[in-house]
């Protein structure tokens, strides 16, 4: 599904380059649950964003579903990422001005899904996540766990093949964290590929593969 060949990311300063990622070679198959680990500043998030097409590599090749992402135009990139990839963030990143319902609905708007179909899909997810009562609340009226639930609901509403999670439990206390991890595990069991960035060994156990990054290099698997 995902194939990175010699991917590097650096920032050009006046005289030298500051590398974030160095020569990453990586292949991830459909259905995997991968955890990316490593110390702060190792390049974990950057790798995740490059995979999620929100950032681009400075050099190297990137294939997503056998398409050459590194050569793609912006429009096609947006197309690809909006139909196949869902994001979950440590800070949830719900839109403050929209209610839970509207937040979950937003990706469908960008995919031009019809009104009635949207209603059905959002209702189904609210039901599944036990959030029907909370649907008209704004993000700041929810607990952290509930916000993350809503964010995951939003990430999976358009049934993406891949979910990218950037420390999804980082801001949650352990009970809520567990609940979220179990949910991700369940999604993985249903066939969704998941890549998460995490500091926690415990969370990494939910997955079936661990990639360790250090100073921009992949250490070992």
């Amino acid at each position: 599904m995902i194939k990175l060949l010699g991917v590097s990311k650096y920032y050009q300063n006046k005289f030298d380059k500051t590398y974030i990622l160095r020569n990453i070679n990586l292949e991830i198959k459909e259905g995997e649950f991968v955890s990316i680990m490593g110390p702060s500043g190792a390049g974990k998030s950057t790798l995740l964003y490059i995979i999620g097409m929100l950032d681009s590599a400075s050099e190297g090749e990137y294939y997503f579903l056998d398409e050459q992402v590194h050569k793609m135009k912006e429009k096609r990139l947006t197309e690809l990422h909006k139909s196949h990839i869902g994001f979950v963030f440590q800070q949830y990143h719900l839109i403050d001005e929209l209610t839970v319902y509207e937040n979950i609905e937003t990706p469908l708007l960008y995919q031009k899904v019809s009104g009635s179909e949207r209603k059905g899909k959002v209702a189904e997810l609210l039901d599944r996540f036990n959030m029907v009562a909370k649907k008209d609340l704004f993000p700041n009226q929810l607990s952290g766990g509930q916000q993350q639930l809503a964010a995951i609901a939003r990430a999976i509403i358009s049934k993406p093949k891949l979910i990218l999670a950037d420390e999804p439990t980082g801001n949650l206390h352990s009970d809520q964290g567990k609940e979220i991890m179990q949910l991700l595990k369940k999604l993985n069991d249903e066939g969704t590929t998941i890549i998460q960035v995490t500091h926690s060994e415990e969370n990494a156990k939910y997955g079936n593969r661990i990639i360790k990054l250090s100073d921009g290099w992949i250490e070992k698997e």
Partner: protein
């Protein structure tokens, strides 16, 4: 999708109430100002367009330069119109307006002296679209002694009766038949009067005098003729008609005339240009226009358009600045939306929708404001105009307003949209606080203040100039003078009236003369003894009596003023210094001055008995021109009766004068004014422009400050952590304040550098309208600049002080 945007927009507006308030208030005020000025300028542009044939109507004017005296006049000779029509098939018709002085009109017991009575050719109503209430416009003016009156005059004489077929007794002996009642002249007509008399009433109108320019000639071209090529053909009239006549009457030879560098020609001016461009473009002397003509100057409209656009720009810049300054709050939304699959164009579209909706709200508020303000604005303009903004008057008003709102919304939203939508989600969402510094923001503030400062400088210079003009020594004593301007009602009892006035204790002296301080001062050709025969000079002349110099306190330079004890003074003249200069023959006292009479082919000799010191008998837009005083018994034209009084007790003195006046005129109404007030009216356009500019420069500065206030709030909020750290490290409040205001100060200073040359250029041009003007002093610029800086610092000081004095723990406690 759209509803999703709209929801966000409304929630955003409600959440950031202060921000929305500043944005909407600023935009509303900006749009209101723009709309008011636009309505004003559009009204100005629409003069004379009520005439159905407006595009084909032209006025003939004369541009000449004779013996170093260049002038453009709208007055043309009597035979010109019919000559043009018979010679050029392109011309469909012509009509002339003429003036033969005041008329006393009587109907039964109603008797008034009417000044606003002009003669017109029978074709007048064929050319101009002026609807009739009664009578037939085609024939109304075809016979002698026919008169068409306006609705307003009809009411004055006849009340609700139908005046058609009734008669006026004119000047006690003639009979004028009322052949038509027309609606009052539209407000947007360059010419207006109360009575139109048939030209054929006066045989002079059929005369063949080619050098007496006393009529306004309008010509109507046939369809599809390009009059631009016509000026050349008019040359033929000058060579074939004007010069042969001038040769016969004045002995002027065309070849010699041209050899001396003189020129003389007829030209055409489109009807629709008369109101706005007569002075600005055609250089036609205001003095040669009829008394009741309306005129304005395109130059002021340019100024108003510029002010309107500038104020709108300031408001739009506010919107841009505040929106981008607040971008940190929106950045997350941008990032999230991008990860959810929005592409950039959708975000741009979202932000532009947002600004357009904000703008739409502002436009609605502005529209209500304008509706509310326009009546006051009309009052302010002394009801010269009936400005209004109605949605349903024209089919195009609503679309234009909507389009305008869209354009402003787009303009205001464009930069924020492109700026915000360019954020990289990977940067925003990783919560990397990267410093996004925008140079454009400071550029916008600088431009805003540059505009404000320019306007402030403009206001100060206009005020200075008006102050100068209104207080300048005019060469005579202008205080404590009361003027009666319908003194001709006294008829031949004027001397007796004067004698009677002298008995009033508060009256020092009084004098009767022809008009001054307004347009219509007559001019003539004069030649001094000993100069070559064709070396005549143009001078204006004033008819005055023996008490003129004493009453106005005009000083003598040499010789003496007229004196009743010299019986020969009836054929004497007094000239001013300017006249003495152009005749250039040393001391002119004792010399003979010939007045050239074109109508009777002859010259009249006068002896110069004195030279008076130059004094300003016209507005200070004009240099003092050569002037000749003639002693004269009361004539039709002499109706400017000035009375010098001892104390400034105007009300009671006028009351006493009124009593005496009533005895001499059978209770006729007294029209009088205090001269000082009349002098002020000469600058009414400048005074009004000054007031409008003052108001709008306040508003412009206010909106700019509104934006600065918001910007200061955001900037200090953003730097609150930095301020906290600095304070922990030992910075004092004063040091923090200095640090924060440094940037704002820099902006205002740069704005000054931009504003100064612009203001200098514009205001210097404006001052050129005056022959007498103040110096533009450097202090004006410095003080305006410092004022702007103080206003800016005052605006931001509350925010900055709040930030600087806050407890650093507050801002540092939470990460």
């Amino acid at each position: 999708m759209f509803t999703n945007f709209v929801k966000i927009i409304f929630r955003n507006l409600l959440r950031n109430k202060a921000f929305s308030f500043i944005n909407i208030l600023g935009l509303s005020i900006g749009i209101s100002c723009f709309l008011i000025l636009a309505v004003f300028v559009i009204d100005e542009m629409g003069y004379d367009t009520f005439n159905e044939k407006a595009d084909r109507i032209y006025r003939v004017y004369i541009s000449s330069d004779v013996n170093g005296n260049a002038s453009n006049t709208s007055k043309t000779p009597a035979p010109l119109g019919s000559q043009l029509k018979s010679e050029f098939p392109e011309i469909e018709s012509f009509t002339r307006l003429g003036y033969f002085g005041m008329h006393e009109l009587r109907y039964k017991d109603k008797l008034f002296r009417e000044g606003s009575i002009y003669t017109a050719d029978s074709t007048y109503f064929e050319i101009f679209t002026l609807p009739f209430l009664y009578g037939n416009p085609k024939t109304a003016l075809s016979k002698p002694n026919s008169i068409v009156i306006t609705e307003q005059s009809a009411e004055k004489y006849f009340g609700s009766e139908n005046p058609l077929g009734k008669q006026f007794i004119a000047n006690g002996s003639m009979t004028y038949n009322i052949t038509g009642v027309m609606k009052n002249f539209p407000k947007k007509s360059h010419f207006a009067c109360n009575f139109l008399l048939s030209s054929s009433t006066y045989h002079e109108t059929e005369g063949q005098n080619w050098i007496n320019n006393e009529y306004t000639t309008y010509v109507l071209f046939k369809q599809n003729i390009n009059p631009a090529e016509f000026d050349k053909k008019l040359e033929r009239i000058v060579t074939e008609k004007v010069f042969p006549f001038a040769q016969e009457r004045l002995g002027i030879n065309l070849k010699e005339f041209l050899a001396k560098g003189n020129r003389y020609g007829y030209f055409l001016q489109p009807l629709k240009s008369i109101y706005l461009y007569s002075q600005a473009q055609y250089g036609i002397e205001l003095n040669t226009e009829w008394g009741q003509i309306r005129n304005s100057n395109i130059y002021y409209n340019y100024i108003f358009i510029a002010i309107g656009v500038f104020i709108l720009l300031i408001a739009v810049f506010n919107f841009m600045n505040l929106t981008t300054a607040k971008s940190d709050g929106r950045a997350k939304e941008v990032g999230v939306r991008k990860t959810l699959g929005s592409d950039r164009s959708k975000l741009i579209w979202q932000f532009i929708t947002e600004s357009t909706i904000t703008c739409f709200f502002s436009a609605i508020i502005a529209f209500v404001l304008v509706k509310f303000i326009l009546p006051f604005f009309n009052d302010f303009l002394e009801n010269q105009k009936e400005l209004s903004l109605n949605l349903f008057d024209n089919f195009y008003t609503i679309p234009i307003l909507l389009l305008f709102t869209l354009v402003v919304g787009f303009l205001a939203g464009s930069y924020p949209a492109f700026y915000l939508s360019s954020f990289q989600p990977s940067h925003i969402l990783k919560a990397v606080s990267n410093k996004r510094k925008t140079n454009l923001r400071s550029v916008l503030v600088i431009v805003q203040f540059a505009i404000s400062i320019t306007l402030i400088i403009g206001v100060v210079i206009i005020r200075n100039q008006l102050d100068y003009v209104l207080n300048k020594d005019l060469g005579f004593s202008k205080d404590r003078l009361v003027v009666i301007n319908n003194a001709s009602a006294l008829g031949n009892r004027v001397e007796a009236f004067k004698h009677e006035l002298s008995k009033i204790p508060n009256v020092v002296s009084s004098t009767n003369s022809s008009v001054m301080f307004q347009s219509g001062i007559p001019g003539g050709s004069f030649q001094i003894e000993g100069s070559p025969e064709e070396e005549f000079k143009s001078c204006q002349f004033i008819d005055a009596d023996y008490d003129f110099a004493r009453t106005y306190k005009v000083k003598l330079v040499s010789g003496r003023y007229f004196d009743e004890n010299y019986s020969t003074d009836t054929s004497a003249v007094v000239i001013n210094e300017a006249a003495a200069r152009i005749f250039g023959t040393g001391n002119p006292v004792g010399k003979i001055l010939y007045k050239v009479h074109t109508s009777t082919k002859g010259v009249y000799p006068y002896r110069i008995v004195g030279v008076v010191k130059d004094f300003n008998y016209e507005s200070l837009h004009q240099n003092i021109r050569p002037l000749v005083f003639c002693i004269s018994h009361v004539r039709q034209a002499a109706f400017f009766y000035a009375i010098r009084i001892k104390s400034e007790d105007y009300a009671s003195t006028i009351k006493t004068i009124k009593k005496t006046w009533g005895r001499f005129t059978n209770g006729r109404e007294l029209n009088c004014f205090v001269l000082n007030e009349k002098l002020e009216r000469m600058y009414i356009t400048e005074i009004k422009v000054g007031q409008i500019t003052t108001v709008f420069s306040f508003i412009a500065t206010f909106i700019a400050c509104l934006g600065l206030f918001g910007l200061a709030a955001f900037i200090t909020e953003k730097r609150i952590k930095e301020i906290g750290i600095r304070k922990v490290l030992g910075a004092s409040i004063v040091e923090i304040i200095m640090l924060l205001s440094k940037e704002f100060t820099k902006w205002v200073l740069i704005a000054n550098i931009i504003a100064w040359p612009v203001a200098y250029y514009v205001m210097n041009n404006w001052l050129m309208n005056f022959a007498y003007r103040t110096e533009i002093s450097f202090w004006v610029f410095l003080i305006s600049g410092i004022t702007a800086l103080l206003i800016a610092l005052f605006t931001i000081c509350a925010q900055i002080y709040k930030a600087a004095s806050s407890n650093p723990i507050e801002s540092l406690k939470y990460e």
